[in-house]
Subunit: 199 residues, 2 copies
Amino acid sequence: MEPIRRQQLIDATMAAIDEVGLGEATIMRIARHAGVSAGIISHYFGGKDGLLEATMRQILTDLSNAVAARRRALKDDSPRAHIGAIIEGNFDRSQVTGPAAKTWLAFWASSMHKPTLQRLQYVNDRRLYANLSYQFRRILPRDEARNAAQGLAAMIDGLWLRGALAPDAFDAEAARYLARSYCDQLLAHHGYTSTTPHA
Amino acid sequence: MEPIRRQQLIDATMAAIDEVGLGEATIMRIARHAGVSAGIISHYFGGKDGLLEATMRQILTDLSNAVAARRRALKDDSPRAHIGAIIEGNFDRSQVTGPAAKTWLAFWASSMHKPTLQRLQYVNDRRLYANLSYQFRRILPRDEARNAAQGLAAMIDGLWLRGALAPDAFDAEAARYLARSYCDQLLAHHGYTSTTPHA
DNA sequence: TTTCATTAATTGAACGTTCAATAAAAAAAT
DNA sequence: ATTTTTTTATTGAACGTTCAATTAATGAAA
């Protein structure tokens, strides 16, 4: 029963944050979304903070899995292919629009003042940077690779931020195209030519 | 007396949000920061929401002014110069790190669920896009210009988001360099050569 | 019956708002 | 100039509401 309830409550948390924002996402509202009583949250997560932390953890895990799966499925081992997979994985993110995205942004803002969330967010950020940096380094000199990784990471965050903010106006395909184009420009800048130009 | 108090309270709001986040920024804490009593907030702003809206308005005005001032000071009327001024202005933003930045991000998240803030944020976003788009259009074909504007806008947001999140690790100069490099790549992509390469 | 899962009622703290009272400043009258 | 009146600025306490957490009671399963 425990794993079922935990998942229900995590999903309900995202739904509630998507609906009214983190500030108004009370334990009663979350519990109502999950179809259970409020007390059960303290029982399974020790309190509201525990539930919020578990929810952020799940989002990060989902993101990590989405990237890893696409990289595992690669036939091409080129840096461009790996970076492409990272981009695709980040824009999957259990739908860039929708509950997960708004929840992510809410946690992002909240992590500025909650050490626990900040740590999670930091680890995730470093992983993205390390992965990008490593792949760029296979082609670009050290400083160039470092800049490229930071630039692309910023662009991914920025595009996704816009997705969370205006889900209706957001075109996920256009976002992926922009990120890949930027990646290609970064690589081309140092003599690398892509084998298969993106559509 | 009124304009003085209003400014004090707006500054105190940013200080409080910088300190403990939007969720914990109570009117008592804000009032204490300003050295006045809590009741005065309702007197001058009609309530907490009024104060928050006024604070966001001020941040947007400051940003708008920072960009406008740099564009007015341009000697060169080239698209590249204008876009450069927009970048510089956006990374001024009354210091990308510090209270204003955290307040901005807090409002950004909050605007997903508060129509008033959403409207302010939307107008600001459209102005950035329109300005960038117009300048790119002077050199690039329509679709290319549209993509370039969206890409650069996303990169600016992404870089700045990272500044708000990790003020200590953030290098404003590096951020400006990344944005300008990206801009140059976008322009160079269609035969345009910059007159003065950035340092 | 004993244990596990859940609920519903309750508690105390914290919140934003309101309001009557006060203090300070300005204006008017003497 | 001095006093009186009016306006403005501000306070601090009280109110009603809402929240997260806790507790005791209830139901189901083993």
